[in-house]
């Protein structure tokens, strides 16, 4: 790896500073700060209602924080505050440098158009205007997420749950984003399909040097994918650290409870 790359990896990609969000009297997210580096996978774990999803929306600029701010280092190297981005810039970021994998693939896919067009949409949105090249790139990505090329012209509503989720991943990664948000990407899948999906994700994340913020209540997912873990409870981050450290040697009573609630294999 060349020197500029190394230097680039030394600077954080995304920095959250005392992020808070309240809905009326309910504080969904309180004083969250962290920095994410390129190629780093951060898992946000916690039970339902702990503020994980709100935090993800704050980080991805879909919700405006009540206090605090999020800074993101753009592709040109300039760090910008997300709240100062115009809507056009934010949407452009979402189509190019970011990905968002929803728990329900129907939210992230266009269910009525073919898989190829689903993958190609981002390319066309950034001005690709050559059918052959778009299709080649789409086929390439379908292969990478282990979807049979013969199904490229089928709509995702004819796909199984696992295939839909893999298609959603391909659709997000086609513009080679640097940061991908994932909201319970394995939710609703059976265990064998989950295992394959996680395996695939782990490979892609390493290969593409992706930074990932993954929200999950499944500690096994966090253990498999992430480098660091943040544990949330009642809108606060109560514990953060390296994944194995947090999961094998939890400090907070709540984290201990969380870890001990996993059924032994």
């Amino acid at each position: 790896m060349a020197d500029p790359d190394l230097r680039e990896n030394d600077e954080p990609l995304l920095v959250a500073t005392s992020l808070s969000k309240s809905f009326g009297r309910i504080a969904a997210c309180r004083d969250v700060s962290f920095a994410l580096y390129p190629g780093e996978v951060l898992a946000i774990v916690g039970e339902s209602g702990s503020g994980k999803s709100t935090l993800l929306q704050l980080l991805s600029g879909q919700l405006a924080p009540s206090a605090g701010h999020v800074a993101y280092r753009m592709r040109d190297g300039v760090t910008r505050d997300l709240t100062t981005l115009g809507e056009a810039e934010r949407r452009f970021l979402f189509r190019t440098d970011w990905g968002f994998v929803h728990q329900d693939p129907a939210q992230g896919l266009r269910m009525a158009v073919s898989a190829g067009a689903n993958v190609g949409e981002r390319l066309m949105a950034v001005g690709w205007n050559h059918y052959g090249r778009i299709r080649d790139t789409a086929s390439d990505w379908l292969t990478r997420v282990e979807i049979d090329i013969a199904r490229i012209d089928d709509a995702p509503r004819t796909y199984s749950g696992g295939m839909r989720q893999r298609l959603q991943i391909a659709r997000n990664l086609v513009t080679e984003p640097r940061l991908v948000f994932m909201d319970e990407p394995t939710g609703g899948l059976d265990v064998s399909v989950q295992a394959r999906l996680l395996d695939l994700l782990r490979g892609l994340v390493a290969e593409l040097h992706l930074a990932v913020i993954i929200v999950t209540h499944d500690l096994a997912v966090a253990r498999l994918l992430s480098h660091r873990v943040m544990v949330m409870k009642g809108g606060r981050v109560i514990e953060t650290g390296l994944t194995d450290q947090v999961l094998d040697d939890p400090r907070e009573p709540y984290t201990q409870l969380l870890v001990s609630s996993i059924l032994p294999p």
Binding site: R95, R110, G116, A117, E121, A125
Partner: protein, 298 residues
């Protein structure tokens, strides 16, 4: 018509002013869909309520009106609207494209070249080109505002993936003045090139959807396509059976239940003009009229 029960051209003056303001705004922002307070008209939605309101708002006593439906001057829709304005505005009407100053059209652009002194008014059923891909109106408006038109190419991509070529044959999306993507109403894509750099003002009225948009004279109108699948206007590969025209848009007419068919110009005025000028097609000479007179069982 001694004591007209209606204001000139049916609509009251306040309504016309409101529509004219929308039209002016539409001309100022080519291709942008301007919302307007569409009125109930004495005809059902889908019969051209939008086009009729636009025509009523721009019509003056000196105007000469032509109305076509699928290129034809003599279908129910065209005749009804022509009579409507003859009655409520007392304007002269014509079927000759060259003589008209205002042409209201449903689904066609006349074959004869338009001039600067003419206004073409389109009846539009669904003005939003992104509608069938993105059902949310809030979202499509935002996409127009931010010029996010990747989705439009998704539709063309789907066509090629399914049929091997861009199979959209009508309502083919265009980009106006290098900014707004616009639905040219359900005109065949054969007519798309005529919109580009057209000397006449083109106004589009959608009554049910309450939108007006416009292409000012001499504005660039580009049909969307892919580099490796360029836009191609479609035309049946046949001459007109009545006038022999090789360059006009053709209607396919089934003539019996054994698969016989004939192709004739969709623009009746153009076809009749050519026949009057001595052009002939393979079936011209009105064989059907003669048969009807001399046939045994009519």
């Amino acid at each position: 018509m001694n004591a007209p029960a209606y204001n000139f051209a049916y609509l009251d003056e306040q309504t016309k002013r409101m529509i004219r303001r929308a039209i002016l705004k539409a001309i100022a922002i080519p291709g942008y869909q301007v919302p307007f307070a569409s009125r109930e008209m004495p005809m059902p939605y889908g019969w051209g309520t939008g086009g009729v309101q636009v025509t009523a708002a721009i019509l003056g006593p000196q105007d000469v009106l032509k109305v076509i439906d699928q290129g034809s001057d003599d279908t129910t829709n065209a005749i009804s609207i022509r009579k409507f304005f003859a009655k409520t505005a007392g304007v002269a009407t014509t079927t000759a494209t060259e003589e008209a100053t205002v042409i209201q059209t449903r689904h066609r652009i006349p074959e004869a070249a338009l001039s600067e002194s003419q206004v073409l008014v389109y009846q539009v059923p669904i003005p939003e080109p992104l509608r069938f891909l993105e059902p949310r109106e809030t979202e499509t408006r935002r996409m127009h505002a931010l010029a996010e038109y990747g989705l439009m190419h998704v539709k063309l991509y789907e066509d090629i993936a399914r049929f091997g070529h861009i199979a959209t044959a009508y309502a083919y999306p265009v980009k106006v003045n290098a900014r707004y993507v616009m639905d040219p109403s359900p005109t065949p894509k054969f007519d798309n090139p005529k919109m580009d750099n057209c000397p006449a003002l083109q106004l589009f009225g959608a009554g049910r959807e309450k939108r007006i948009y416009a292409i000012p004279p001499y504005t660039q109108v580009v049909s969307l396509d892919f580099e490796d699948h360029p836009f191609e206007p479609y035309r049946f590969n046949a001459p007109c059976a009545l006038c022999g025209a090789e360059d006009s848009y053709l209607d396919e007419i089934v003539t019996d239940d054994k698969g016989s068919r004939m192709f004739v110009c969709s623009d009746t005025d153009y076809c009749e003009g050519r026949q009057a000028a001595g052009h002939h097609g393979s079936l011209s000479g009105a064989p059907y009229k003669e048969k009807a007179q001399g046939g045994t069982n009519g």
